[in-house]
């Protein structure tokens, strides 16, 4: 019975995210007043639904939803939208949830298609409290990088609209350049700090947990490369007080690089691979 409920939740979840994203899109691009009124309520509902799903799933399958890459993607989708809604409630930036919820929709959809509902731990090494810290940091880190890239994208959009004198609905709904840039920078910092923690926890836990541990594993190298990319970007910005369009581009490129590196690393990894 509970397993059936789980299946229904899993099936509905992507649709809820897509519907939420569609509403944010209507509000952002079309100024639709109904969507404007309902979008945040819808997102709260979707997040609550997602949270209940995660709880039921953990209780039923007897393991936290972090034991495979697809389970993680599902939680990443949740944490990204959660981070967005916190920002929405704390700042005046209200109309930019389209991109966050869109990425969440994609992540949850992929997770919904590929993740398997297996009882118990498939890998005994994952029964470890350091895993929780390692994985939580990774979730925070990648959510923050995604948000930073979203702000980068918004910056480019507004920059372009200002330069081409396109004063349309999207222009009206965007916050100002300075605010976007500051959010973009803060997100990148949060992501970078979290990724540093991921690496530290990983270095403590991984050698102890895995017999076939290797420092040259693709995922370790990949993660370290992402860390270097962001360290370099943030360093360059700090030293040369780089500002404006270039930093926005850097944030977007950083995230795309991280995405590609992680995709390759997951495919090539030896011991650090859980599907």
């Amino acid at each position: 019975m509970a397993f059936l409920v789980l299946k229904i939740f899993k099936f509905l979840l992507p649709f809820l995210y897509i519907a939420t994203s569609w509403m944010y899109g209507r509000a952002f691009f079309k100024d639709d007043s109904l969507a404007k009124r309902l979008k945040t309520k819808f997102l709260v509902f979707t997040l609550t639904f997602h949270f209940i799903y995660l709880i039921i799933r953990t209780a039923e399958l007897k393991h936290p939803p972090v034991t495979s890459i697809f389970e993680l993607l599902c939680v990443l989708g949740f944490s990204l939208s959660l981070a967005y809604i916190l920002i929405e409630s704390m700042t005046k930036i209200k109309n930019t949830g389209f991109f966050a919820t869109l990425i969440s929709s994609l992540l949850v959809l992929i997770a919904g298609i590929f993740s398997r509902d297996v009882y118990g731990f498939e890998h005994d090494v994952l029964k470890n409290e350091l895993l929780a810290l390692h994985v939580t940091s990774a979730l925070v880190g990648y959510s923050a990088f995604a948000l930073s890239a979203i702000y980068g994208l918004l910056y480019i959009m507004l920059y372009h609209k200002l330069r081409t004198k396109t004063f349309d609905t999207v222009y009206k709904n965007l916050p100002n350049l300075e605010t976007i840039e500051s959010m973009m920078y803060k997100s990148a910092i949060v992501g970078f700090v979290a990724l540093t923690l991921v690496i530290i926890f990983g270095f403590i836990w991984l050698p102890r947990a895995f017999e076939n541990f290797s420092y040259t594993d693709a995922k370790l190298v990949g993660t370290f490369m992402i860390w270097i990319v962001y360290a370099g970007g943030l360093g360059v910005k700090k030293i040369t007080s780089l500002t404006g369009k270039k930093t926005a581009l850097m944030s977007i490129i950083g995230f795309i690089l991280a995405f590609i590196l992680m995709a390759f690393a997951n495919a090539l990894s030896g011991f650090h691979k859980f599907y």
Partner: protein, 421 residues
Amino acid sequence: MDLVLIGLNHKTASVEVREKLYYTLDEVEKVLPEIVQLFLKEGVLLSTCNRTELYGVFRDESVKCEDVINFLISGKRAEDIVKHSHFYIMRSYDAVRHLLEVASGIDSMLIGDVQILGQVKDAYEVAVKCGVVGTLLHEVFHTAFRTGKRAKTETAISEGAVSVSYAAVELAEKIFADISKKKGLLIGAGETAELTAKHLVSRGINELYIANRTIERAEKLAKEFNGKVVKLDEIQDKLGEVDIVISSVAVNDYILNFSQVKSAMAKRGNKPILIIDIGVPRNVDPKVREIENVFLEDIDSLEAIAKANYERRLNEIPKVQKIIDEELKNLIKWYDAHQVAPTIKLLRERFEKIRQAEIEKYRNKFSPEDFQKVDALTRSLVNKLLHTPTVSIRESSNGKPDSERIKFIQFVRELFGLEQK
């Protein structure tokens, strides 16, 4: 409803006509008691640069609208310019609806004008001061204030800059998070440029530099805006420091060329700069736009922003109309409640309820036959007691104006505790 509106506005009369019939608040204070004494029971005179409207209740049936119009015209000695055809006359709920439209800004020349609600309030307060506001106008005008406030907060009817100078400020606020941390430079003078500078100052701009060919003019503006005068040849230096430049000079050559701005950008660490060029011919080389983090906008941009905002306001009108419908409905409800019949009904119901509650307490102390007698006795007692009040309430509507009746009925309602919770 006895309410009458006699007025003219920008839709029925040209500015030459409107200015002739414009009453300042001081003038209203003098003329309104006179108008009321001659024609009205109560009245409010609303006069702005776009309208002069008299809201009131006629003293009696012998008062003619034409006489009131004649009085308004002759009071201003405007017989040659202002004609009767410039006026419109509305009655009852049409007049109320019009006032609600005025207060919410959708009857304004510039839709969503924020000033009008304040002007309506001022007009009302002057009338209160003159002692010529009765119960009816009190309720009608408070409905108008509420409608205006709701329109402003619940819809986007007054959102967005619709003038060119405000559009410039809005543009600056789309780039910078906090104007009070930014510096500005005003090159030259001109109406739009000065107005923009004024708005930036009112937004608390950190520093404003002013450059002008005639130094006296620069000094005068600096004094007005609490700014600092710079010489024209110092502009290049200042460019590295300021974030917003407004240029409006009548010259044939560019004041700012590509290399000047390029080197200024290097000096300012490539931080974004907004340059608003409203000079004709243009003061800033359009090629400057190609430099990264430089936002060069001209009068066309500002006009496009103002136009887009105005169109958005126009789209909000149906929402405002909906609020007006709601408020008008509430007013009608209030008005109906102060009619004679419902009040008498309420009064009787109230007494009957008390009577029933009281005799119910003694039901067991009487035999059924005695109880019937007590029931009849109390019923007749209540009827007798209510006879005179009922007649008085009924008579309150006989040939008397709304205001007096409403006042009386309000008194009755309070006296007998008839207000519905």
